[in-house]
Symmetry: C2
Subunit: 762 residues, 2 copies
């Protein structure tokens, strides 16, 4: 029996396609009260006072809470493991409702009513008096001398500034015959656009607050709620049912802390707080817009002598994950091509935009675009072959990062490049397409990436699992790690079945996390779960297997070390003859009159390792210059994510990530009114998301390495597929037109401006 590496149907497939799967809103009590939040209509200023008189008159209003009523506690919202060291704790810069308004649609009051209509009407009838300041929307304005500061103790609105230097940059650039290439690159604010909007409901059991929520991180949200309300962890219980995607947006506490507070206002009655799509766009989190200034000094052979980067990250109104993202970006700048001297300066800056947080690949799509565009710019200016240059400078096996100590334990990157090159016949086409004329031109482009798997040692990696044997030889598996649509339950079930020695049908995954009884895990983020939580599953499965074999040994009067489990049967090690079934052991262990033992195992794993995954995107495009349109003719991602646990779900991850990358490169960007800071396209009509008809045939391939640190040789796959797509498209457009566009998305307006400037359009 070899389950790992096969392509199996998802364990939740049936319930999800038949509609049996329960999501947060399916679980809301019909008697629940409805809460609605009043969002500010200014982006920067103070709430001076409210007139609630008309709101209170609305029939069905149960309570109205304003920013002047909530606990005077500042709390953080980032979905990071807590640190007991204050220096490493997330920035606590918001209250449940805020009188100091820091973005358009900030949360300033809330209404609890018997039904949604009453709640919405009352919210509309609340009159607010503001003191208003001019909105600050850009990093430049925010950092200007004398700019009004949005948070105390953050002069020039700089949340964090960090620098590092590898080698001696100033000396390195003095080397003879270096070619200097400079570039400025810019990425947009985008939205996660998960299917299920942010929503939760809360009620009380005795003096315990229960919040059922669509979150990626139930255990962390429990901690954040306890901080926000000033209660002990044990007084908060978070339940996470199936969720309709998160992509990092739900790696933050969103509606939960306020929802937890609201139920306490009504004696513990159930209160539902579900955001609309518009609120989910404007009032949850976004992906940070970043600006990069890169200077590279290249030797004639294409090797990198020295590189410097300046990075600016637009944080928006509240810290959330704050500097962690741009820090990850500038670390990625170093890790991708860890050669020569490298100097970095990075800023995270508060503005009056909506708060930016975690989003799939956590800063790397931003640097991935800038860096891989820049490498093609170097190739263009130096005449070097971009593939040769990448292979020459990219990370090699055994690399140990000097700042994080993260080590390259395995790499299939070179083969990924070769396969992609071969698939597209890239090099030949690149030359052939170099000097086209006419309105319609073709181009090929590619980009590579490397990606950390977990977050160690930057932050804590810890996970736990529990398995319970049923009397028929099947088992329940409880995991703190969360299924968020990515297929985690399925691969965990495969890991358990493989390690214990039972068939897949014997493993019942408890998909729902309930922080009262579910073992601890920090949750679904980074691309950590198959790697970190997979270790906890493996460790628990081994201990569970051992207990079964010990009881089998007792029944058979044999040494348990001489026994094994294969295909649901107890056998001699290296033999196949069935001695007992696991079911025989299960029923006897429960009902034995001499030795009744209830077999269950629970193990926690503290992961103190990390590893890199790699990949490439190759694409061929057709550019219609007069129409300023890009058409994807062909595209492939080739990934080294170590050993692939489930081929089918892995391909699904790659396709989803490529689709997101296409949107990032071609269409998606949130627009804001420059005067008010109001989001202008906070819905799926005006925000251009990739749909089925926009999506070309997507090709995915894997170079399977066997990572020595992965529980089953596996490495990160969840986030990476989205990274290389945008730069590959940009480089293909460059190949087609000779025009280097240094900002995404490549929407017609941007291309029009660039083609005008390049005199391709007159």
């Amino acid at each position: 029996m070899d389950i790992i590496g096969t392509s199996l149907k998802r364990v939740d497939a049936f319930d999800k396609v038949t509609g049996k799967a329960k999501y947060t809103d399916d679980l809301v009590s019909d008697h629940a009260l409805i809460a609605k939040v009043l969002h500010s209509t200014i982006a920067n200023g103070w709430v001076k006072e409210f007139d609630l008189s008309e709101a209170w008159k609305v029939n069905g209003v149960v309570d109205i809470v304003t920013c002047f009523d909530v606990p005077n506690i500042q709390f953080p919202t980032a979905g990071h493991p807590w640190s007991t060291d204050p220096k490493h704790q997330d920035i606590a810069d918001r209250k449940l409702l805020n009188a100091r308004v820091r973005c358009y649609a900030d949360d300033i009051a809330a209404v609890i009513a018997e039904d949604e209509i009453a709640a919405e009407e009352a919210v509309r009838k609340i009159k607010v008096t503001y003191e208003e300041f001019t909105p600050i929307l850009t990093v430049e304005d925010a950092m200007k001398e004398g700019a009004i500061t949005l948070h105390d103790e953050r002069p020039n609105n700089i949340v964090v500034k960090s620098t590092y230097e590898i080698g001696k940059f100033e000396e390195a650039i003095k080397e003879e015959g270096l070619i200097k290439v400079v570039g400025d690159y810019e990425t947009p604010v985008v939205s996660h656009c998960h299917i299920e909007s942010a929503n939760s409901f809360a009620y009380m059991e005795s003096d315990k607050i229960v919040v059922v929520s669509s979150t990626q991180i139930p255990h962390i949200v429990r901690r954040i709620c306890s901080q926000a309300l000033g209660l002990g962890f044990g007084k908060i219980r978070i339940i996470k049912p199936y969720i309709g995607g998160g992509f990092g947006n739900k790696q933050d506490a969103l509606t939960e802390p306020l929802n937890a507070y609201l139920t306490t206002r009504v004696g513990g009655r159930p209160v539902k707080l579900a955001y609309t799509r518009e609120e989910t766009f404007a009032c949850t989190r976004t992906r940070h817009a970043m600006q990069f200034h890169i200077e590279s000094y290249i030797r004639k052979d294409g090797s990198f002598a020295a590189r410097s980067i300046k990075a600016y990250s637009n944080q928006g109104a509240y810290a959330s994950h704050a500097h962690a993202l741009v820090a990850n970006a500038v670390n990625g700048f170093r890790m991708m091509y860890p050669v020569g001297a490298i100097k970095s300066e990075a800023y995270t800056v508060y503005t009056n935009l909506p708060t930016a947080g975690a989003m799939r690949a956590y800063g790397i799509p931003q640097i991935g675009f800038a860096l891989e565009a820049h490498v093609d710019d170097i190739a263009r200016q130096t005449g070097l072959d971009p593939l040769v240059m990448r292979k020459l400078n990219m990370m090699k096996l055994g690399y140990v990062d000097p700042l994080t100590t993260i080590t390259c334990h395995s790499t299939g990157l070179e083969e990924c490049i070769d396969r992609g090159e071969k698939y597209l016949d890239y090099s030949k086409k690149r030359v052939a397409y170099a000097h086209q004329t006419g309105p319609i031109r073709k181009g090929v482009g590619m980009a590579i990436f490397c990606y950390k798997t977990g977050v160690y040692p930057i932050s804590l990696e810890t996970s736990a699992c529990r398995m319970i044997l049923n009397q028929d030889g099947s088992l329940q598996m409880q995991i703190g790690a969360t299924e968020i649509g990515q297929g985690a339950d399925t691969v965990f079930a495969m890991m358990a079945a493989q390690t214990i020695g039972v068939t897949m049908d014997k493993v019942h995954v408890i998909s729902k996390q309930d922080t009262d009884v579910t073992p601890y895990d920090t949750g679904a983020y980074a691309s950590r779960q198959t790697y970190v939580s997979g270790m906890a599953v493996k460790k628990t499965a081994e201990s569970f297997r051992k207990k079964i074999l010990e009881f089998a040994g007792f029944m058979l009067k044999k040494d348990s070390w001489d026994l094994d489990i294969k295909d649901n049967n107890i056998v001699h090690v290296n033999k196949n003859e069935k001695l007992l079934s696991v079911a025989d052991v299960a029923i006897e262990s429960c009902y034995s009159l001499t030795n009744s033992t209830h077999i269950a195992a629970e193990e926690s794993h503290h992961c103190t390792d990390n590893t890199y995954s790699f990949g490439v995107c190759f694409t061929e495009v057709e550019v219609d210059i007069p129409m300023c349109q890009v058409k994807i003719l062909d595209i492939i991602n080739v990934h080294d994510s170590g050993k692939i646990i489930n081929g089918q779900t892995a391909r699904g991850q790659v396709h989803g990530g490529m689709s997101m990358g296409l949107g990032y490169g071609l269409y998606e960007h949130l627009k804001f009114d420059p005067k008010t800071g109001q989001m202008l396209n906070d819905n799926l009509l005006d925000y251009k998301l990739m749909t089925a008809i926009d999506t070309p045939e997507l090709h995915a391939d894997f170079v399977q390495t066997d990572d020595p640190t992965g529980p089953y040789g596996n490495k990160s796959l969840g986030e990476p597929p989205t990274i290389p797509v945008a730069p590959a498209i940009r480089n293909a457009v460059l190949n087609a037109t000779g025009v280097a566009i240094n900002a995404i998305p490549l929407h017609p307006q941007r291309m029009f401006d660039a083609f005008i400037e390049a005199a391709l359009i007159k």
Copy 2:
């Protein structure tokens, strides 16, 4: 800190008085379909055919299932731990619906509809053709030669016959100068009358059937449902929320197996199957009516030379717990006075009455009435002092039962008797009241009992528990043992707090059992939980405490064996100075960057011991002879239940038990139409249950022994208080009037007949 032995508020008090506590019906989905069962209108015969045509026409009917559609599987319903030895398995003598009708209101078909009205209307419109036999309602008729047998392979309808002999009875009775006393005693069929009727609802998650049910025994019901449907245990999940009492009725699978099957008929849609009060009376379980013939041979000094008993138990239609109850009764006959030669012959017999099952004290209220009435009859005929005689013959410390090996590890019975005697001034009054005349007379009576605590070695005693540490130093406790209103959660929380070394507010009991994740326990029956499950709580708490201390030792760089937990703090053994708080350990163990460990403990305990509890009831009554009325003037129960865990909840148990005993002695009995076998008083108007105004002031006292086998020196208390009340009243009436009434309840009609016969009424 000494928590055990104090009087603490119930942990569920707040939620129960505020209505926050959720019961099965509170959890039913509003979209649930409603199922109603068609019950037979004959007591004995066969269903020949159904005409469903009119029923199918009812708007809203989704499905109709008859006894001809259900799986052809016979299953048992008794809430006993399973035995892997077929000889010790419960009798599998029923199907989900039965074509062979064996009692009036037997289950023969079911309707599933969109709402209750449609379901009821369709049930009414089902036409049934029967082949009808004469109902057999009495043991005598059932055992008659040629009586029609209700089940195959049970000639004369005898379910089981058992005998035992201690010593040599026939020789013993030859002893010189023995006084022979003979008596026949009879107890009625009564109903449990728990507040919450039998009800459940079921739905499917993927291919797993979930049944939410008001049961005392979720893990056992899971096994029974898997047997009834022929599915693996892992395909069944039972969830038990708060329940409104059970008293043994819910120690059987009631609506659950059929409910589990019905949801499979509608593709897993939620189906609610809630019995009305009338159905709960007529279609669930009753307490066995028993008849006893006792012959005693007494020496002049009052010592028992030899005793024999013949016992007949009316089982009704299906086996359920079957012979276990009358076996317990005749064992009790031996154990209460384990002297001289003893001979027993016991029969359990099928009839067409509703099925009898477990009820509080499991056969002992029946034998308790017969035996303690008989002892007073002996005293009357021999002129011996009944207290002296009881003390002379009753069980003494160190007694080892020859048939079960159950040992008397502790006894406070003599002191219980003395306290009761002193409280009531019994002996003096007994003499004073002996020869009254006139219509209104007073009398005193008393009765003693002994009671096993668990069911070992007759059947398996096993239990498990899990504790999970929260980051604030509080914990969740998951127990397979069930809160059924008796206060189990409270005493388990006290045990955990005491053993770990934390205060009560730190212990969060998960009251709800969910067989998917809750550790195994056979459930709430016998009076086993504080004794057997208490052992699992103690064992788990010790292992949990050890893990906390080990991490504290790691933090403090000290040996954990040198550390202790007192009042939520880590201290040196035998010292009080706080080194750390448990909360410090909890948060560091979770977030430690060097040693992150998620502290949880899970232990199972196989109990291979048992012990006896004891007690006595003393009462003074006033008998109005012309009116045939008994008035309770004073009543007290004095119990030796070992160490009392919680004084307040213990008194509550005693008061509840005494109230039940008063009803058993004075009012309660189910009546049946002798021609049809239909229950005549299947509701709380016609069935006379004790109410507040019927209940005199109840006095409870405890003689606290420290049992060496109890986890905290404790012994059984849940069931015992109900045992001695009825015989004490009967003996008081005897003392008052000289009339020995050998059947209960002592309702006016029965007393009238007896007083006529005794010529007290002319």
